[in-house]
């Protein structure tokens, strides 16, 4: 109990609060060598120092008081606040598709505790309805929290339980599935679900937000609407990532879970299909396909859930001067599969060859992907490539490095036979390797060039 009333304060600051008998949420009148201050004592963030006390002053701002300057302090009142998202019943509208939202811990919809700045996630249908009422015009929503982890902590375990939960929902007759997810590893999960949930009769849509929904300019609400629209109404029954197309509040893009990648640390339009075009655009009214071929929605309830994963797989980003012992160390530690991310057409230096040979002899399977992200691994062009293949490295076509890693883990979760693995790896499930790269599959325009500037000026990006 005594812990709770000094929330986040430690050491010296805690002593000062105790000395003057002032609690967190207490109204305090503080005398200091810099003058007097008044306000409500707020909890202190765990990572901040122990020599300041945080006050919310009457004008709504927060300030910090240096405890070294405090000469006297008095609690003049106390008011603890407790906040909840208003729960309104999510209306059910006959005729609208039913959509299931799975929560994984990433907050797409949330609201803020204005005093502490803590984000309170909105998750239950009622809370979501309170935050984004437009959702009720799109679908009938149910939600389920599968687990709560940050995006960077999503891993094989989570992929597996998510895949199983999706399988259950499909059997139960849902019209579409949305998965709320942190954006950092959204594309890993997109790949994993593509492999683990095959032949789905309904859309499976992964969605996140690049700007938390406490801000008026957040992309969260619009992304959520786009995702629900896609899940409920789209004819595309694939695992997709649904995020902003341009950085403007305009339309969303639907990317295949196997070809998508987060390309900017903070932009709203960070997700891009690599080496191909996205599946479709989506706005609040409709889904407009870009690709003609896609897996169509069906009425049956058949789905193949393949929840396998081996954690004996790793990824090695090559750099010039890499020493063979890096490979040896992985092999010695029991890793059975390595995805190389090589330079150019898929290269590593000669110095590594002996280590690669040793790995192959120990039964480690190795695949080559590209640092360039765009293009195909071509190991026949130069001798080095042929040398590597001779030593056991298998080119993974134009599979994205992260996708190759996920797929190798998934494949090795099913078999240890290198030939079997190779067959799985090189047989595309949903375009993780494509036969051809369309001309517009690679578009990284260079700013400053007149025609590009012209384009940017005309089309709001």
């Amino acid at each position: 109990m005594s812990e709770d009333i000094f929330q986040g304060y430690k050491n010296k600051a805690l002593e000062v609060l105790k000395k003057y008998n002032v609690r967190v949420w207490g109204q305090a009148s503080i005398e200091t060598t810099r003058g007097n201050f008044e306000g409500t004592v707020l909890p202190r963030s765990e990572n901040d120092d122990d020599i300041h006390i945080v006050l919310k002053i009457i004008t709504g701002y927060n300030i910090g008081i240096d405890i070294g300057t405090i000469t006297n302090m008095k609690e003049t009142g106390y008011k603890k606040a407790n906040y909840k998202i208003p729960e309104k019943e999510f209306p059910t509208t006959p005729g609208l598709p039913s959509v299931k939202l799975f929560g994984t811990g990433g907050t797409i919809a949330s609201r803020l505790d204005y005093r502490t700045g803590a984000v309170i996630p909105a998750f239950s249908p009622g809370e979501l309805y309170g935050a984004v009422p437009e959702l009720a015009d799109i679908c009938n929503l149910t939600t389920e929290k599968v687990f709560a982890v940050f995006s960077e902590n999503m891993g094989p375990k989570q992929y597996i339980s998510l895949a199983k939960a999706i399988g259950e929902e499909i059997k139960n007759g849902i019209d579409g599935i949305v998965i709320g997810h942190g954006t950092d590893t959204l594309h890993h999960t997109g790949a994993a679900l593509t492999f683990m949930v095959q032949n789905s009769p309904v859309p499976i849509v992964l969605v996140g937000s690049q700007r938390s929904s406490d801000r008026p300019s957040s992309d969260a609400a619009l992304n959520l609407m786009h995702a629900m629209k896609t899940a409920g109404h789209s004819d595309i029954a694939e695992v997709m990532v649904c995020m902003f197309g341009p950085t403007s509040d305009d339309y969303g893009l639907l990317h295949k879970g196997t070809r998508v990648r987060k390309m900017h640390s903070s932009y709203r339009s960070t997700f891009r299909t690599i080496g191909d075009t996205p599946l479709a655009t989506v706005n609040r009214d409709k889904i407009t396909p870009i690709k003609k071929d896609y897996k169509q929605r069906r009425n049956d309830r058949n789905v193949d859930i393949l929840p396998y994963f081996s954690d004996k797989v790793t990824m090695l980003y090559y750099y010039p001067g890499m020493k063979p012992d890096t490979i040896d160390a992985l092999v010695d530690n029991g890793y059975k599969g390595i995805v190389f991310v090589g330079t150019g057409l898929g290269h590593v230096n000669k110095e590594l060859y002996p280590a690669i040979e040793r790995a192959t002899k120990k039964g480690v399977v190795m695949y080559m992907t590209l640092q360039t992200l765009w293009g195909y691994v071509h190991m026949f062009v130069y001798d080095t490539g042929r040398d590597m293949m001779a030593r056991g490295i298998i080119p993974a076509g134009n599979m994205l490095p992260e996708v190759a890693f996920i797929k190798l883990g998934w494949a090795m979760g099913q078999t240890e036979d290198p030939e079997e693995i190779k067959k799985i790896m090189l047989t595309p499930i949903n375009d993780e390797i494509t036969k051809r790269e369309p001309y517009n599959g690679y578009l990284v325009y260079q700013g400053g060039v007149p025609e590009v500037e012209d384009f940017i000026k005309k089309f709001r990006k």
Binding site: T32, R34, G35, N36, F37, D48, D49, I51, H52, V54, I57, T59, G60, Y61, N62, I63, G64, I65, D66, I67, G68, T69, A81, Y83, K84, I85, P86, R111, L112, D113, Y114, R115, T116, G117, G130, R211, S212, S213, D214, R215, P216, S217, S218, A221, P246, T247, S248, D249, D250, H264, S265, S266, Y267, R268, G447, E453, I456, K457, R460, K461
Partner: protein, 663 residues
């Protein structure tokens, strides 16, 4: 009193009603208003003074500060919609709701030179600009604020779109400061450092366009308590804060670099904020008119509550009308028809005499409704006509018909408005809402100012809930050593400077110019190092320089430090300082020209004193020949005039005059 009492009911005249209600309110022009008039209405006012800091870069990114572009000079545009977020109580606050109702599409114009991905909220903030923080702290210390121990960056929500993130990053540096006015001290609530907003290019219908050059520039905001009880006092406070800011030499000057939000209320009224007033000289008129506008709204409140039994059930009635059934020859309506606008007639029960009730000089209550239709329902003005127009726009028969159509009673008033179909629900809601507010008195709102001192509705005043911590920034400790160090290098206080100018005998009408341009340090330096007569240099700068600035243009940038150079040159060359008056226009126009060349250009020749004086006897002789007056004074002046051209710069005028008398 002995007017004939006609038994007939005189026809209602909106114009007369306007004049009558103006009298009821007791409105008087500011020039005639006395302290007692402000006491009568309980005038109270305060300020939020915004001032840009003169830093090289913006506050939270490394874009240059102070580089501006024309409207069409941009590289890209992006679109955002501002979505209200839930407040603490799980409700949307007033502004939020209003802004959301307007469904605005906000377009930001980005020029690569002045905005990066931070401004458009696609990159988190970088560390706060240390230069800006230091300048702001200097000003905080000068304003006697209690400096905080740790700076916490806070997000303040703005849904109008003026900031792409939907919030402004801002932080308090000090609380409880103080400034001295002539007759009192004014307490200051707080000083914050914050990022400046985007500049609006246009706001038409549902589209608002901003440019982002100014966005993110460091700005400070000094907030006073509402302790100014007359418009003049308010202006004095505004001037003092502005001069204090400028006295540091750390702030930007020029259009828009310093802006005031002026808060005004009257007894029984509400705090209304007049936003972004750039010229302090407008403050008295604006605050005067606002005080009386509120007083007028309270008069309306009284009348409505007298006439309406149960205000809680008061509501409007409306019907769509077909233009063919009426005689609506008014261009805005006929233009609207082209765009498929629909026309609605609205009845306002018991509002007769209210629509044409005085609110501001030349403005009536109906304007309050029209202004809100523009802002909230996005219907461009003119957006309505009504039954009490001061200058009727459509023939009166229309309203007779409309009264019938709406089953209106004698004491009702009517509005006809036209709008795109999609905006009609909001428009009706807006009309009803504003009328219902009239029963309550003065709505909380922010208003936009005009040069004539009147204001129009801008937005609903945001609630207190729109502040929350910025999770992207760590708190910044301000250690004692750092603050002590800053305290040591502060300029002297404006009030002390004021007293010093007085002591030097410099006339008071020069002070505003001197403080506005932060010229005190220059004057002090000239007096102290060159030993020039304070009164001379004071008037030279406060009168002569001010005049030159207003009437000449410079070929290159004219720096005030040139004035010091000028007097140093005169002193070093042992020339008379009167010559400075002849040099100033030239040096102002051609700041790069050296003083020797300037002297040549004004035909100045160095002539020994004796040579000039030796001409006096000859001139005296000449005067006696052409003598125009017997008065010795006239003779002296004539001789002075003859000698002036050569004398100036070589012999001070008082010495010359003396010599004429003596010779």
């Amino acid at each position: 009193m002995k007017k004939n009492k006609s038994p007939e009911i005189t026809k209602f005249s909106p114009k007369k009603n306007y004049e009558l209600t103006q009298k009821e309110v007791g409105y008087i022009p500011r020039k005639k208003a006395k302290k007692a008039d402000y006491e009568r209405i309980g005038f109270m006012s305060g300020l939020e003074v915004h001032q840009q800091l003169k830093t090289k870069e913006k506050l939270f990114c490394h874009c240059p500060a102070g580089v501006f572009h024309s409207h069409d000079d941009f590289n890209a545009e992006i679109i955002r919609h501002m979505r209200p977020t839930l407040s603490e109580l799980g409700e949307y606050d007033g502004t939020a709701l209003m802004e959301y109702k307007t469904r605005k599409e906000i377009i930001y114009r980005i020029n690569n030179q002045t905005a990066c991905t931070y401004e458009i909220d696609d990159t988190p903030p970088f560390k706060i600009n240390q230069e800006a923080l230091e300048y702001a702290l200097e000003i905080s210390l000068l304003s006697k604020f209690n400096i905080v121990g740790e700076v916490h960056i806070t997000r303040k929500q703005y849904l109008d779109g003026s900031i792409p993130a939907g919030f402004q990053r801002t932080a308090i540096l000090g609380v409880e400061g103080e400034i001295p006015l002539k007759n009192k001290k004014v307490r200051l609530i707080q000083l914050s450092i914050e990022e400046d907003s985007s500049r609006e290019i246009s706001d038409i219908g549902h589209t608002r366009v901003y440019k982002t050059d100014r966005l993110g520039m460091p700005l400070i905001e000094t907030v006073t308590y509402p302790e100014m009880y007359t418009p003049d006092e308010l202006k004095e406070a505004a001037e003092y804060i502005r001069f204090l800011n400028r006295s540091t030499g750390r702030v930007r000057v020029g259009s828009g670099a310093g802006r005031e939000d002026v808060n005004v209320s009257c007894k029984g009224g509400t705090r209304v904020e007049i936003k972004g007033v750039s010229y302090n000289k407008l403050i008295p008129e604006l605050s005067h008119i606002e005080g009386f506008r509120q007083w007028a709204l309270l008069n309306i409140k009284r009348k409505l509550n007298d006439n309406v039994k149960d205000p809680t059930i008061w509501k409007i009635q409306h019907k769509e009308i077909d233009y063919r059934d009426f005689d609506l020859k008014y261009e805005p309506i006929t233009n609207g028809l082209i765009d498929k606008y629909r026309i609605l007639a609205v009845n306002l029960p018991d509002f007769k005499g209210i629509l044409s009730h005085f609110t501001q000089p030349g403005k009536i209550f109906a304007n309050e409704i029209s202004d809100r239709l523009k802002v909230i329902a996005c219907i461009e003005k003119p957006n309505m006509v009504h039954s009490e127009e001061l200058e009727p726009k459509i023939i009166e028969e229309n309203f007779t018909k409309i009264k019938e159509l709406l089953n209106a009673k004698e004491n009702d008033a009517q509005i006809i408005f036209w709008a795109p179909e999609a905006d009609i629900p909001t428009a009706l809601e807006t009309i009803e809402e504003r009328c219902k507010m009239a029963f309550e008195g003065v709505p909380q709102e922010t208003r936009k100012s005009f040069l004539d001192g009147t204001t129009i509705f801008e937005r609903v005043l945001p609630g207190a809930d729109r502040m929350y911590p910025d999770t992207d920034s760590a708190p910044i400790p301000l250690e004692n050593n750092y603050i002590d160090e800053l305290s040591k290098s502060l300029p002297s206080e404006v009030i002390d400077r004021y007293n010093q100018l007085n002591k030097w005998g410099i006339p008071e009408d020069t002070y505003t110019y001197i403080f506005r341009n932060n010229l005190f340090p220059l004057i002090e330096k000239i007096i102290k190092t060159l030993k020039i007569n304070p009164k001379f240099i004071g008037t030279f700068i406060g009168h002569k320089l001010k005049f030159i600035e207003g009437h000449y243009t410079s070929a290159d940038k004219f720096e005030y430090s040139k004035i010091y150079d000028l007097f140093k040159y005169l002193t070093d060359s042992k020339l008379d300082i009167q010559l400075s008056k002849k040099i100033l226009p030239v040096v102002f126009q051609y700041p790069k020209m050296d003083f020797d060349s300037i002297l040549t250009s004004i035909n100045f020749k160095s002539v020994p004193k004796e040579e000039i004086l030796s001409k006096i006897p000859f001139l005296k002789q000449k005067y006696s020949e052409i003598k125009t007056s017997k008065d010795d004074k006239v003779a002296k002046n004539w001789i002075m005039g003859e000698l002036q051209k050569t004398a100036i710069g070589n012999i001070p005028p008082d010495q010359l005059a003396q010599a004429i008398v003596q010779n």
